[in-house]
């Protein structure tokens, strides 16, 4: 069972690495500025949720922590994305 757990962690790590490389490619290889920004921060939110759920184990925390942490991740992603897009039009 522990081997299965370790495998699970390695799978999550693999997904995180792939998502990181994907976000770098959005940034470096595209000229779709707004779409690229949205994609980059969407990837960041997905990565953060993966870390929160699988590594931090927010699902095993008290319900209010689970909710607060996951909402914070989504809110920060939206804030950073929105703020970056706004700065592009100043």
């Amino acid at each position: 069972m522990i081997m299965r757990l370790l495998d699970h962690n390695i799978r999550i790590w693999g997904v995180l690495v792939i998502l990181t490389l994907a976000s770098v490619s959005f940034a470096e290889l595209t000229n779709w500025h707004v779409a690229a920004v949205v994609a980059i921060f969407a990837v960041a939110v997905v990565k953060a949720q993966l870390v929160a759920v699988n590594f931090m184990e927010t699902g095993h925390a008290l319900p209010h922590w689970n909710w607060l942490y996951r909402v914070w991740i989504a809110a920060i992603g939206c804030l950073l994305c929105g703020g970056t897009i706004l700065s592009m039009y100043r």
Partner: protein, 196 residues
């Protein structure tokens, strides 16, 4: 009585103590404020921020991101190992975390040195004030976590199989994953949205 029993069971099941979850959440609020102020400045001075971000090398940020993600894997494995009381695996994983953290620190210090040598100090302009402030605050968190890694590694085998040690390592783990979480947002904010 049922509510108290339910809370007690919840606290028992929760990785780490309630204190660390509180502390990390407050830290999240503090960094939220930093991000908010950063963005307000970026909106006010878009050209200065674009010029500043253009000077950042995304490869350094990418390397640091991969180091922290990998160290999070080792930390998760360390916590899993402590739950099955495998002292050797715990030490090995903590050492790997320490190595990743150390590599991150070296990378960061080289980056700071390059900036400071080029005359780009925190007082240079608004962007660099924030660059050093946000990454500096994050850097201090990395150093703090590494001190905890060393502390956890220095426990002897008898101490490492106690339930208190498991809790301690879960606390350290939660903090380290938070450090990774922060960088997951700092990396795109500073290094990837350079063209924006």
């Amino acid at each position: 009585m049922d509510q108290r029993d339910a809370l007690k069971a919840g606290l028992e099941r929760q990785p780490g103590t309630n204190g660390i979850w509180t502390f990390v959440f407050i830290d999240m609020i503090v960094f939220s404020l930093m991000f908010l102020v950063f963005l307000s400045e970026k909106i006010r001075l878009p050209k200065i921020y674009a010029a500043g971000q253009a000077h950042l090398d995304f490869r350094i940020g990418l390397t640091n991101t991969l180091l922290l993600i990998t160290s999070s894997l080792f930390m998760a494995d360390a916590v899993a190992s402590t739950r099955r009381r495998s002292v050797v695996a715990v030490r090995r994983n903590l050492l790997a975390c320490l190595a990743c953290g150390g590599a991150f620190c070296v990378n960061k210090l080289f980056e700071y040195h390059a900036k400071l040598s080029a005359g780009l100090s925190p007082a240079h302009n608004s962007f660099y004030s924030f660059y050093f402030f946000i990454t500096g605050a994050h850097f201090l968190h990395v150093i703090g976590a590494m001190i905890f890694f060393i502390h956890c590694m220095r426990q002897n085998e008898l101490q490492m199989v106690q339930p208190g040690y498991r809790r301690k390592l879960e606390n350290v783990g939660l903090f380290w994953h938070f450090v990774d979480l922060l960088w997951i947002f700092i990396f795109p904010l500073l290094y990837l949205t350079r063209g924006a």
